[in-house]
Symmetry: C2
């Protein structure tokens, strides 16, 4: 008999458990260079993907796929695709920011022993999906929730993760054999870490500063200009 | 003197701490009806918003704003906007699914004592943003990561959360005074809970089933058809 699964008392969190969730949230970093070469064991990878798979999804659609990449040859090709796109990206910045931009290491594709490409199958639920009727992006957003679950689970496992977004989609699709109709949501680099930045790397390196949270919170309605 | 903040030993997670992170991930639910009326204290709300604010963001852009809504009058107007959109949504489903759709409670706008609208300011970083040069959606995705952080922190605080996506944007913008150029990413309902579904509500109610994770994982490249 399948377990009847309905409402049950909500498990409470001890202070230590609650603090552990915040610890994952506040010490999570977008890692580009601190990856150790040790392989990520299969059972750990499985836990990370289970965490991703238990993200919320619009209409319980679970629109994601996960392509795990360990092959050096594949990662070399992906790194080359990044390099081409990053040269294009650098050229888009105003002259005075270009050298700062070029000094940043923005990916760990070759250094991280494990890469994961996370995709969204926009046709999985058919044309009409519960909760996507008025916001066509909800399936993409569900997939992003899976990425963030994976990121926090990785942090708790001692694994750093970085999200690389500087690619031409067509390049990645050609390398990974991803069909045209499938949307790439994230390309992730993962590996064990023994050091992390205490604050976000782009803050430490002076690219941007932390915004004061108070200025981002409005009560009851939007405040300020258009 | 500001603290110099650079690389430091990565804090490790004890087994109990790691399990707490997974507990948040695996017992998180999209709550629509189990909200208790107790107000969410300001210090708890602050922790939730700090968690959201510490999400990863492309180029360290922090493109989000949070509109907190407790007013009954405002929530009544939002609930009406949901109702109109949900009638439209129901009509989009094939005849045989319409009664099932209509039987689902898909929001807790009035029942949850706290609502939060999460928005993305797409102009915050100027036209050229590090990491958004080749994927224009990255600022929206950063904002979704903030939502997922908030969701998991809420779970650890004993607070249930539901994401309501069935609105016409123009309705929500009119009610909350949100400028045209600002993108609404999520409308969230929050409140303490003492009961939760053991499995996703849409699975329990037979709307959709859990997909086997093995079928969603590919190694080295996409597998299967186009």
């Amino acid at each position: 008999m399948p377990k009847t699964s309905a409402l049950a008392p909500a498990a409470s969190f001890s202070t230590l458990e609650r603090d552990a969730v915040y610890k994952a949230i506040f010490t999570r970093r977008d890692v580009r260079d601190q990856f150790l070469p040790d392989p990520v064991p299969d059972d750990v990878l499985r836990r990370l993907l289970e965490a991703a798979h238990h993200a919320p999804s619009v209409g319980f659609l679970q629109p994601w796929n996960f392509i795990t990449i360990r092959s050096q040859a594949v990662r070399d090709r992906v790194a080359s695709a990044f390099g081409r796109a990053n040269d294009e990206a650098a050229a888009m910045f105003p002259e005075e920011r270009q050298s700062a931009y070029k000094s940043l290491k923005l990916e760990g594709i070759r250094k991280a022993p494990l890469n994961i490409c996370v995709t969204c199958d926009r046709d999985r639920g058919g044309a009409v999906v519960l909760g996507r009727t008025h916001n066509a992006s909800m399936d993409l957003y569900s997939t992003v929730c899976a990425v963030q679950n994976l990121w926090l689970a990785a942090r708790a496992e001692g694994i750093g993760m970085g999200w690389v977004s500087i690619f031409r989609d067509a390049d990645l699709k050609a390398i990974l054999g991803i069909p045209e109709r499938i949307e790439i949501v994230a390309y992730l680099c993962l590996g064990f870490v023994d050091e992390l930045y205490e604050r976000p790397e782009l803050e430490v390196k002076g690219w941007n500063r932390r915004l004061p949270l108070d200025e981002l919170i409005f009560e009851e309605k939007w405040r300020g200009g258009n």
